[in-house]
């Protein structure tokens, strides 16, 4: 039992340092907020034009569509949809061989990086998520939830989304063991991340089978699902089913990451680091 | 044709050079105070062609700022400065062809590319004649032992290897002056020796003028006849290394191991500065010979072993500065 709490304390400290690492760059955060806000404005107007043409498109009214835009800007860095999380550093460590040192540490590789990434995500949510959302709400009429329960449900969905996002990026980073340069996979992951998360366009606007397919993929857990929870599209039992969807993908991908990590470790040991 | 060459024997001339920075300090939430920092506060000196000079001082004394002004990176706030007859800040790119610069802390090489790619680029960028380039590269590769490293990306080189690579890069275009900013910092003993040997030969054979900043007194002892000391932006000393010891009235230390623990020894012209069990430290003037002192100690006390320690640069400067400010 004592070992457990010690472990927990270790990872909590790791997460805190992940948070602090990003919190140091205040100008960068401010610059990021500015850019997210400009993009939010541009996208918002294109969505207004789209929903003017087709009111109720994808089951959203115009203010829900606008809310989706600003949620996308708020969660862009939280979910590291365009990269920028821990994966670059991990790939670099694999590339240079420093990873051998990490593998011999008493801490578990996957949990260690998960902790830093959770710290990062929390900072991005507070530092880069809140401000654009506030600007969006001031300029446009957004569909903000009235009841605190839904805000809480949203935060849970965001947390589960970060888990899935981490699990995907962990797999991407580990690919560097075999490809010696994660550039290709990182790029593919970024593509999938922006397209299938709903960042480019809400997935319920995708036509027919493409929409069905996109909504079943893990990336939908990153933005589409949290946004729909925020907009009150999933309540009651449906909310639990939605969480189950996120948890299912998180569990499957984290397990895959663990297996891949085991294979990679064996490889490092055989190669002698 | 070359007016700079007949300008005089002095390759580097500084006359009352100043560099003042405005520093903003946070004094509270959103409150900042502006104040001036005189990083270089009226420095004058000249360096004749072919000389090898050490430029030393504690951290933040203004060494790097001076080097940056001499290379044209920084614009002086006042005074007159000429290198090979050129005003560095006004004609930075023209000067660049005639000087070589090595920063110990960061490389001038292209980080992700093999060493040889950087050299090929220097060849074209500095418009070095083919034959000259080949000759210089071959010489550097041989003397700095770079043959095995040419195809290795710079980021994979060790610190010592990279430093050798950087020195070669700075010399391909036959610069008249070579500035070295902490060239041995962080290097192991063998690498340090290699770098020093190469620089000594370079100065002796090619007559390249060298100005080097360092923390390591051994660099100066082994390379430079002349040394300049800068502190708080002012030139504190300019002359031979031996004179520096006198100027700083520095002391050497005699470390004596006795047979047993004793109260502090009493010998004339030396004083005990530290006692640790049977070992005692005696300070004596650096200009004096250690022999009579050793004889006196051996005569009176049961001595087992002894050694003499040279003063270190920081101590010399600290003492010099203390003397100046009290006088």
């Amino acid at each position: 039992m004592r070992v457990r709490t010690g472990r927990f304390r270790l990872y909590a400290a790791v997460a805190r340092s992940g948070f602090r690492r990003y919190a140091t760059y205040r100008t960068a955060t401010l610059a990021g907020v500015f850019t997210n806000t400009v993009f939010g404005l541009i996208l918002a107007y294109t969505y207004i034009a789209l929903w003017d043409e087709r009111p109720g498109l994808g089951g959203y009214d115009q203010s829900q569509a606008l809310t989706f835009v600003w949620l996308g800007q708020a969660l862009l860095t939280v979910m590291a949809l365009m990269g920028g999380g821990f994966e670059g550093e991990l790939i670099e460590r694999i590339r240079t061989g420093d990873i051998a040192v990490d593998l011999y540490r008493p801490a578990d590789l996957q949990t260690w990086w998960l902790a830093t990434d959770l710290g990062r995500a929390l900072f991005q949510l507070l530092g880069r998520g809140v401000a654009p959302m506030v600007v969006g709400a001031l300029v446009f009429d957004l569909a903000l939830p009235g009841e605190p329960g839904r805000w809480l449900a949203f935060l849970v969905a965001v947390f589960l989304g970060v888990l899935v996002s981490f699990a995907i990026r962990f797999l991407v980073a580990l690919s560097a063991f075999w490809l010696m340069d994660g550039a290709g996979t990182t790029q593919v992951a970024m593509l999938a991340g922006t397209f299938f998360s709903g960042m480019l366009l809400p997935l319920n606007v995708f036509p027919g089978a493409l929409g069905e397919f996109a909504r079943a993929l893990p990336w939908s857990a990153l933005l589409q699902v949290p946004a729909d929870v925020f907009l009150g599209k999933h309540t009651g039992v449906d909310l639990l089913r939605t969480y189950a969807f996120q948890i299912g993908w998180a569990a499957a991908l984290l397990t895959a990451g663990r297996l891949l990590q085991a294979v990679a470790t064996r490889r490092v040991v055989v190669q002698g680091g | 044709m070359e007016p700079d060459l007949i300008a005089g024997p002095d390759l580097i001339e500084l006359d009352g050079v100043e560099k003042v920075f405005d520093v903003r300090k946070k004094t509270g939430f959103l409150r900042r105070e502006k104040h001036e920092v005189r990083a270089v506060d009226g420095i004058s000196f000249t360096v004749p062609r072919g000389e090898m000079v050490g430029y030393i001082g504690p951290n933040g004394a203004g060494k790097s700022t001076t080097i940056k002004m001499l290379t044209g990176i920084l614009t002086p706030s006042g005074g007159r400065l000429r290198v090979a007859g050129i005003d560095p800040s006004r004609e930075r790119t023209r000067l660049a062809r005639r000087i070589g610069v090595v920063f110990g802390q960061r490389t001038t090489l292209w980080w992700d590319l093999p060493l040889i790619d950087s050299y090929r680029l220097m060849h074209r960028m500095y418009r070095i004649p083919d034959a000259r380039y080949k000759e210089n590269l071959d010489r550097c590769v041989e003397l700095l032992e770079l043959a095995e490293l040419l195809d290795v990306p710079v980021r994979q080189l060790s610190l010592g290897q990279r430093m050798r690579g950087d020195i070669a890069a700075a010399l391909l275009h036959d610069p008249e002056v070579l500035y070295l900013d902490e060239p041995t910092i962080g290097l192991d003993v063998i690498s340090k020796a290699k770098v020093r040997g190469f620089l000594r030969d370079l100065n002796a054979e090619s007559g390249t003028t060298v100005l080097l900043t360092t923390h390591d007194l051994t660099d100066i002892e082994q390379l430079c006849k002349r040394v300049m000391v800068i502190d708080h932006g002012r030139l504190m000393y300019d002359g031979p290394l031996a004179g520096l010891h006198e100027a700083g009235e520095s002391e050497r230390t005699l470390v004596v191991d006795l047979e047993r623990e004793l109260p502090p020894l009493e010998v004339e012209s030396a004083r005990v500065v530290k006692v640790e069990g049977p070992r005692q430290w005696l300070a004596f003037p650096a200009a004096e010979s250690a022999a009579p002192l050793v004889a006196r100690v051996a005569e009176r006390y049961p001595m087992v072993d002894l050694s003499v320690r040279e003063p270190d640069i920081e101590a010399v400067i600290a003492k010099m500065y203390a003397d100046k400010s009290t006088s």
């Binding site: 993009f39 922006t194 | 920063f103 074209r124």
Partner: protein
């Protein structure tokens, strides 16, 4: 000072300036050439990243196609008309990004002190910064934009006149010039705010996203800002609307369609000035 002396000084300065430009172009060519050669050592990896770059940017157009799977018009414009706007801005942006995309690393260079190493080389710093890590894979974006532009020109039913035909390449080139000015100004801004590399993304990537859609989509104030404050409207909106024979935003007069060369020249000059000011302040304050 007498006139002839002044004239001679002016000539000397002009010759000096010209020599600097020549040196800059030469250094740019040398450095970018070196990066291209080193990239070509890993052809497969290069092909993959170039394709990736192509695909990433193509997704922007995919989003527009998806929108048009639900509607026939957006802001009163058809898909092929929007394809013209999209293709023009993406091609212009692609050219500027290919040439100067590395400049957003300037803040990093100031932070880690490597800018100093560029200042001791006999070549203009701007050329060295721009050519550093020259990324030929950025061709992907350019090619993608050119594809869409070509598609739009084929499917659009335009009453072509010689002036309209000439307008298309002029639009793409001047647009590239305007975006180039934004890249340079963004880098110059980083002399003042080192960690603010992302601010320029708002104007570069954000700008090209804005210009992919017709001005009718946006609020008047946003269009005003993009016309009078940061005149991105001259990249493609005004010249493309001239080609399409559509009314200009903000009731601008017809001749403004011919203003892009002037706008690009003025913006490039201003950006150059900003760069000089930034570099000068760096050289007087150090890192």
């Amino acid at each position: 000072m007498d006139d002839s002396v002044q004239a001679r000084n002016g000539r000397t300065r002009a010759r000096h300036g010209l020599a600097q430009v020549r040196d800059g172009v030469r250094a740019y060519r040398l450095i970018s050439g070196m990066w291209i050669r080193s990239l070509m050592a890993y052809r497969l990896s290069f092909a993959m990243t170039a394709f990736g770059n192509f695909a990433v940017t193509a997704f922007d157009f995919a989003a527009i196609l998806l929108m048009f799977s639900q509607v026939d018009r957006l802001g009163g414009y058809s898909l092929s008309e929007i394809a013209l706007l999209y293709g023009a801005t993406c091609t212009s942006f692609g050219i500027a990004d290919l040439a100067l995309g590395s400049m957003d690393r300037l803040g990093k260079r100031v932070r880690d002190g490597t800018l100093d190493t560029l200042l001791v080389r006999p070549a203009p710093v701007i050329a060295q910064v721009a050519a550093d890590r020259f990324g030929l894979h950025r061709l992907g974006r350019l090619v993608q934009g050119a594809f869409v532009l070509g598609y739009a020109l084929v499917v659009l039913d335009i009453g072509w006149t010689p002036v309209k035909i000439l307008m298309v390449p002029l639009m793409v080139l001047c647009g590239a010039g305007i975006f180039a000015a934004v890249f340079v100004a963004g880098a110059a801004f980083q002399f003042a705010a080192r960690d603010a590399a992302e601010v320029q993304n708002a104007f570069t990537y954000g700008g090209t996203t804005l210009l992919q859609f017709p001005p009718t989509v946006f609020a008047k104030d946003l269009v005003r800002g993009a016309t009078y404050i940061l005149p991105l409207a001259f990249v493609n909106w005004i010249p493309a609307l001239y080609v399409l024979g559509r009314p200009y935003p903000l009731d601008l007069p017809t001749w403004t369609a011919f203003a892009p060369p002037l706008v690009a020249a003025v913006l490039l000059a201003l950006a150059g000035l900003a760069w000089r000011t930034g570099l000068r302040s760096y050289r007087s304050t150090g890192s």
